[in-house]
């Protein structure tokens, strides 16, 4: 009984910590002044906030004697999709001229892909 209680306290602590990070991520969305800076907030909430919730869910199932793989899959899919949505939001901001000005030079002699000449579909 005491071990079950200890496990629950431990899991609650992780969940609480993850919740704080998710909260900080959302607060950052409110507090940061420029669009490119606000884009940083969602990457935070998904990594630690969601990560903690998933870890606790998997450990809780394990405590009940069941192995649950779905949490691992959610983590994998999040890691695969989050950077792509962030990239597309950033590209949209650059194209609309709402990103921070003074883009640096590519250093390769070619422009950044978003601002380059449109290519016809191959």
């Amino acid at each position: 009984m005491t071990t079950a209680l200890a496990l629950e306290l431990f899991l609650s602590a992780i969940l609480f910590g993850g919740g704080i990070f998710a909260l900080v991520g959302s607060y950052g969305l409110l507090r940061l002044p420029r669009p490119m800076q606000r884009l940083h907030a969602p990457t935070k909430a998904t990594t630690i906030g969601v990560g903690a919730a998933l870890l606790v869910s998997a450990l809780d199932m394990l405590g009940q004697g069941q192995i649950s793989w779905q949490e691992g899959l959610i983590t994998l899919f999040l890691l695969l999709t989050a950077p792509i949505s962030a990239l597309f939001m950033a590209k949209t901001l650059i194209l609309r001229g709402e990103a921070d000005p003074n883009l640096p030079d590519t250093g390769t002699g070619k422009p950044w892909a978003t601002l380059g000449q449109e290519r016809p579909d191959p």
Partner: protein
């Protein structure tokens, strides 16, 4: 065989993924897994002309552990910036990261790593694919960010893929 299964590893991954998704062993799931594992690689093969090569799969596992650790550490740093740095003191900067990597898989993995480690974000790529545009939330010294990305992530990915 090669025309039916252009990407055997992708087929295998899809079958395993499907079983993890349904979370139980049934013959019906195996049939479904094999159907998906055959159809999806065929439908998407136009975007995968070459088979991705991973030279050191075990280093890739070590790399994911390193990234996971960095994500945790960087989360604390960014939380501190968001909560305690005055708004006008946050020095956001663009960073150009010239690439030594050539494999498209390695480059997308590097771009994903940069975005998932809080504080930096991949925003664009040069039209020729030889440089990444990275936005850093708080970087008084953009050159240090570039050197850090190249030393910590790119060099490891180069060993794994090339």
């Amino acid at each position: 065989m090669k025309r039916l299964f252009p990407h055997p590893y992708l087929t295998l991954t899809l079958i395993v993924l499907w079983f993890l998704l349904v979370n139980q062993w049934k013959v019906g799931s195996l049939v479904m897994a094999i159907i998906l594992g055959t159809v999806i690689p065929l439908l998407t093969s136009a975007w995968w002309p070459d088979r991705p090569r991973v030279k050191r799969p075990f280093s890739l596992a070590a790399y994911s552990l390193l990234v996971m650790w960095d994500v945790i550490v960087a989360n604390f740093q960014v939380a501190r910036i968001v909560l305690f740095t005055p708004r006008d003191k946050i020095q956001s900067n663009w960073v150009t990261v010239p690439l030594d990597l050539h494999s498209p898989e390695a480059i997308s993995l590097l771009a994903g790593t940069i975005t998932m480690t809080p504080g930096t974000l991949t925003a664009d790529m040069s039209a020729c694919g030889r440089a990444l545009l990275v936005h850093s939330l708080h970087a008084p010294d953009p050159d240090a960010v570039r050197d850090d990305i190249k030393a910590r992530y790119e060099s490891r990915l180069k060993r794994i893929f090339e």
